[in-house]
Amino acid sequence: MGKPTRVTNSIRALRFANGEMTQAELADRIGVTRQTIIAIEQGRYSPSLEVAFQIARVFRVPLDDVFGYPDTEQ
């Protein structure tokens, strides 16, 4: 089974670039469960726009630096 979402993300890399922030720490800062952060990182869940913006704000980067969407249809 393929990944259920085509949205890609750089959360893992951004966490490590930000003092090796843990998934639990990120989850606490944006008010979601650690399991949701894991699901987002693994591409099993596309967060709402609001949560996406909150994640970008934690890392102080634009939304495009956190999430991506492939141009091709496949």
């Binding site: 089974m1 979402t5 469960t33 699901a39 099993r44 869940y45 709402s48």
Partner: protein
């Protein structure tokens, strides 16, 4: 595993165990007996009560064992719950046709009550299964 996923597993577990025990109890009374004479009302109400009670107790136990996650819920939990309940509603809607048809055919209350009970059980189990798949595989 989030607290909501644990709750889903608990409802799936209770949704399997309680009806199986109940049906095993009632089926043992069925052999060679007129179903109209089987006292099923008490055991069925007990099964429904035990199902609700066991769900509550096990959820409290899970919260005591994993206090850190207890009660935490977020948008993903709500979306998964909504999806599961949505599918469960459709299963219930279709499954409810059976007791309706049995009532129209003036079949024994025993069969109507059990068809309705099974419709509830089926709906709850499908709902839990959809949620568990969504938690495990995403969507």
């Amino acid at each position: 595993m989030s607290s909501e996923e644990k709750r889903t597993w608990i409802s799936a577990l209770v949704g399997v165990v309680v009806p199986v025990v109940y049906l095993a109890t009632v089926l043992t009374k069925m052999s060679g007996t007129d179903v109209a004479r089987i006292a099923y009302v008490g055991p069925m109400l007990t099964a429904i009560g035990v199902g609700i009670g066991a769900g509550i107790v096990l959820t409290i136990v899970a919260a005591m064992v994993w206090p850190k996650d207890a009660g935490k819920t977020d948008e993903r939990d709500r979306e998964i719950n909504r999806r599961g309940e949505y599918v469960g509603f459709y299963v219930m809607s279709v499954a409810a046709i059976v007791p309706l048809a049995l009532a129209m055919a003036k079949v024994e209350h025993f069969w109507i009550a059990h068809a309705l009970y099974l419709a509830f059980v089926l709906s709850a189990l499908v709902s839990a299964a959809v949620k568990i798949v969504a938690y495990r595989r995403g969507w």
